[in-house]
């Protein structure tokens, strides 16, 4: 795709970006421009600041510059260490999220707060927790304790690794990446990347994989499973998306961040009759909650709460002048929000002791007093309605889609095409048959963030459309999901983008061609789905005609996700090169040689059309090997 020079393919974003320019308000794009040219050493991963002798940098462009750090670390070592630390940080973010959810489950004292009892008991069974004679709260406590044990247990591997196909488990054991406790693996990355420790780039990456695995098959999976238990397993529902979901006459509350414990409480509090009444007294028609980024995904998946926008729209939401409060917890919250909110009446409310922002109002969230605190926060927003100043400018842009495709929902949907006289229900057989017969060529997960190095949303959307027309089913999470729903790819109308095979599948199953599977921790749902399909065909995840893509990734979490996907046997296409290009060895290892070890590898391709071609070729290749 030719870069048209646009910053975004999203009309609402374009409109508000223009408004920001006119009003002289600085946004992420302006700061990115001011940063150019970005440092080549950092970009290539060749800068090391791991000790007081540094900073060191390796010079690649001429032979005269330093070819090793002061300690003697080579480019391979430095690049691998930097990459590993990024992965560890990403894994830490997801895992700490999982830990908080586990703690929330642990503190549940009332059965009514468990929304999916069946899932709780299933997990208890999976983990060998006896449930006989115990009440739900007791079982929840024991499951939570077991989950919390995953973070720091002294012996044994991650429990969820057992969910993988047998061949994969064996491979992990043989290659030494069957991770142990979550925190331990992350600490080990930090240890081995300390000055004078691990200098073997392959060994450093192996440890990075162990840490990444504690994300996908550890922290993220715990986060997802336990969130479902606490707040309900998502089922298909309609949702509206984009900044047009903000309502001029209402108190608008945007919840932004990641952990559903906070946003769930806000959703409940915003429906409190007392607060609704208060909002009316302030001259508003009511309270409108909208979600942003992954917390937006969480409440949309479970309650159909409108999705206000993704990562690059957080600043723009405030520029509508209609947001009374932006409530944030952790991860991917731009500190610039504090500056931008000052230009409007919007209150930026931080809630986590792990993520404070100077200039924001901090109201600390506590799971045990969640409703009280949520009410206090919502009240702050309501009382702020009358402080609106200037003109409200909400772009008239929103689209509708169907979301809520948890693994459970997908399997239930697949039952629609089973014949009760010929087939079992509750399995992935219809999906496997559709793929084996060739009606679907394969499936691709489009995940990841927004990044100024790619036009906003455009790569997500272009890639998705290119895949749909090739009869490749798309599942998505995170900000990729926001991009797809905004572009209308989760509506029935999106069948027009599909090849005949995929369109037929969508019609029979009554699904959109792009399935929203949740937030970034919910990528763990995709891992379980892949495992189920691989087990059904008696193979490994690496045998499947599938791929993953992060066309606009930016965060360390995305790097951790990419690496655990590769280690799980998945071909992962990145639209932005990670900072590994300074070492040919590391780059070659990650994009080529690693495939012979794990069956998955990274591919770098910034053009979404070419990316689709590469993915389709990969999928057809896998099909050939399967003889289908």
């Amino acid at each position: 795709m030719e870069n048209c020079g646009c910053i975004t393919c999203d009309a609402a974003t374009k409109e508000l970006y223009e408004k920001a320019k006119n009003e002289g308000i600085e946004t992420v794009w302006d700061r990115a421009r001011a940063m150019q040219p970005q440092c080549g050493f950092g970009e290539m991963g060749l800068c090391c600041t791991n000790c007081g002798m540094g900073p060191c940098r390796i010079v690649k462009v001429s032979k005269d510059g330093p070819q090793a750090g002061i300690c003697g670390a080579t480019e391979d070592t430095i690049v691998a260490r930097n990459f590993a630390r990024s992965v560890a940080a990403g894994a830490a973010a997801h895992s700490d999220h999982g830990r908080d959810i586990a703690l929330a489950l642990y503190h549940v004292d009332d059965k009514a707060r468990i929304k999916d009892e069946e899932k709780l008991f299933k997990l208890a069974d999976e983990w060998g927790i006896t449930v006989e004679g115990k009440d739900t709260v007791q079982v929840a406590k024991e499951v939570a304790e077991k989950a919390l044990g995953e973070f720091g247990k002294v012996f044994g591997n991650l429990l969820f690794l057992k969910r993988a196909p047998e061949k994969r488990i064996k491979l992990w054991e043989e290659t030494g990446v069957a991770s142990e406790a979550i925190d331990k693996e992350i600490v080990r990355v930090l240890h081995s990347t300390h000055m004078g420790c691990d200098a073997d780039y392959r060994n450093i990456i192996r440890q990075a994989i162990r840490a990444a695995m504690t994300d996908g098959w550890g922290g993220s999976m715990i986060g997802t499973e336990l969130s479902d238990i606490l707040f309900g397993t998502p089922m298909p529902k309609k949702v509206e998306a984009n900044l047009g979901v903000l309502k001029k006459e209402y108190v608008n509350i945007v919840v932004h961040g990641h952990e559903p414990t906070l946003s769930e409480a806000i959703v409940v509090a915003a429906r409190d009759p007392e607060l609704v009444e208060l909002a009316k007294k302030q001259g508003a028609e009511g309270i409108n909650v909208a979600g942003m980024c992954c917390t937006g995904n969480e409440i949309a998946m479970r309650h159909g709460i409108p999705m206000a926008g993704n990562f690059f729209q957080q600043e723009l939401a405030i520029m509508t002048g209609a947001v009374e409060a932006m409530i944030v917890d952790v991860q991917c919250i731009m500190p610039s929000l504090a500056t931008i909110t000052k230009c409007y009446h919007t209150k930026l409310i931080t809630t986590s002791p792990k993520a404070k922002i100077p200039g924001a109002t901090h109201i600390e969230f506590d799971e045990q007093k969640s409703f009280e605190i949520a009410k206090r926060i919502v009240k702050e927003a309501v009382m702020n309605f009358k402080n609106r100043k200037g003109e409200v400018h909400i772009p008239d842009e929103k689209s509708e889609g169907r979301i809520g495709y948890s693994l459970e929902a997908i399997i239930k949907t697949l039952d629609r095409v089973t014949n009760t006289h010929a087939h079992p229900s509750g399995t992935v057989k219809p999906l496997v048959d559709a793929i084996k017969s060739g009606v679907l060529r394969g499936a691709v997960a489009i995940v990841g963030c927004n990044n100024h190095k790619q036009p906003h949303d455009s790569c997500h959307v272009t890639l998705a459309k290119e895949l749909l027309k090739r009869d490749i089913l798309v599942v998505t999470t995170g900000c990729g999901a926001h991009a797809c729903v905004k572009a209308g790819l989760m509506s029935d109308d999106a069948r027009k983008y599909c090849g005949k095979g995929l369109a037929t599948v969508c019609e029979l199953l009554d699904i959109p061609p792009v399935l929203h599977m949740g937030s970034c921790v919910d990528i763990s749902r995709i891992l379980v789905l892949l495992s189920e399909v691989a087990k059904y065909i008696g193979g490994d995840i690496s045998d499947l005609p599938v791929a993953a893509a992060a066309p606009e990734w930016m965060s360390e979490k995305a790097q951790a996700i990419g690496l655990y996907a590769v280690a799980s046997g998945v071909y992962v296409l990145l639209g932005v090169a990670p900072a590994v290009t300074g070492s040919e060895n590391v780059a070659t290892y990650l994009t080529k040689d690693i495939e012979s070890v794990f069956g998955g590898r990274f591919e770098i391709e910034s053009d979404p059309v070419k990316a689709a071609e590469k993915i389709a070729a990969h999928i057809e290749n896998k099909r050939k090997r399967l003889g289908i």
């Binding site: 010929a422 017969s437 060739g438 009869d471 005949k500």
Partner: protein, 314 residues
């Protein structure tokens, strides 16, 4: 071989056979010789509905072969596979048309061959009212005469129109199934290609009752999918040709239920090895719900028996 490759292979075989049939017919009768099915205003209905062209003589029929050929594009996707299935249907019609061009009366008792417009018009109303809840096309050979009779009678009892193609015809007769249009059990012919004579029933239904304009293939397929409650039971070993004909049925929206091991396609291609379940599996696959309650009496009871004649020897 992938499922799609099997379909492409079968479609190419059908095309070759159609070419050979046309060549041989022209050799015998010349390219100006008349081509027509008896008692129809729709020329060669499949070709007419798909292309909008009426075929008058063998020379024109030969020209259709290139259209058929253009439909066979062996790319691995559903669209091309379904097109190849339609190509097989067109080839079958060409082959059958050649039979009628060469012979005075290519079909004889018990086989019906081509079904006239008048019959279709008479079947149209009960199809619309649901009096005929569905059309079962049983093709091939059941493992035994008993199984064959059981399946056919089961459909007959439910009021479905049953069309038979292949050895199942002999099995039906041996199994004492009374056949005939008035009994709604219609043996079409022994060759696989004679299945086209039930396909043209669906196609003419679209032209007559659906007022689908000839040449509008998309609308035709929509009509057959939504309005003609037909399905196929393919019993016994499946050749590539039969599989590609099955793809033609699927293109028309008719699911195929077989007793053979095939790569299943959700909703459209289903394996059912339990012969007692073939009927319920088929009805569910086509979404056919039987309106009448079955009366527990020792003889068959259905509208299908209304036209039955009790002969002296019975």
């Amino acid at each position: 071989m992938t499922l799609f490759d099997i379909i492409f292979t079968g479609s190419k075989q059908a095309l070759e056979a159609a070419k050979a049939a046309v060549d041989s017919a022209i050799e015998k009768k010349g390219s100006d010789a008349k081509v027509a099915f008896p008692e129809t205003a729709y020329s060669l209905p499949t070709i007419y509905a798909a292309t909008g062209k009426k075929i008058g003589n063998l020379g024109e029929l030969r020209d259709v072969l290139s259209i058929v050929e253009s439909l066979i594009v062996p790319e691995q996707n559903l669209e091309k596979a379904l097109n190849a299935g339609l190509a097989t249907a067109l080839s079958a019609e060409i082959i059958e048309a050649c039979k009628y061009a060469v012979e005075e009366k290519p079909y004889s008792e018990p086989c019906a061959g081509f079904i006239s417009d008048a019959v279709i018009r008479s079947l149209g109303v009960p199809l619309v009212t649901g009096d005929i809840p569905g059309v079962a096309v049983v093709i091939g050979e059941a493992p035994s005469v008993e199984e064959a009779a059981k399946i056919i009678k089961n459909y007959q009892n439910k009021g479905l129109l049953v069309c038979l193609v292949g050895k199942i015809i002999d099995q039906a007769i041996e199994g004492k199934v009374k056949v005939g249009l008035e009994l709604r059990v219609v043996p079409l012919g022994y060759d696989v290609t004679s299945v086209i004579h039930v396909v043209t029933v669906a196609i003419r239904a679209a032209l007559i009752f659906g007022a689908v304009p000839p040449g509008n293939l998309e609308e035709l397929l929509k009509y057959t999918r939504e309005r003609v409650p037909a399905f196929v039971n393919a019993l016994g070993p499946l050749s590539e040709l039969v599989v590609s004909a099955g793809a033609g049925a699927i293109a028309l929206g008719f699911p195929v239920i077989t007793d053979q091991d095939v790569q299943e396609v959700p909703h459209f291609l289903i394996t059912q090895k339990d012969y007692d379940k073939i009927v319920p599996t088929s009805l569910e696959a086509r979404g056919i719900k039987i309106k009448i309650t079955e009366v527990p009496i020792p003889v068959g009871f259905a509208a299908a028996f209304e036209g039955e004649r009790v002969r002296k020897e019975d």
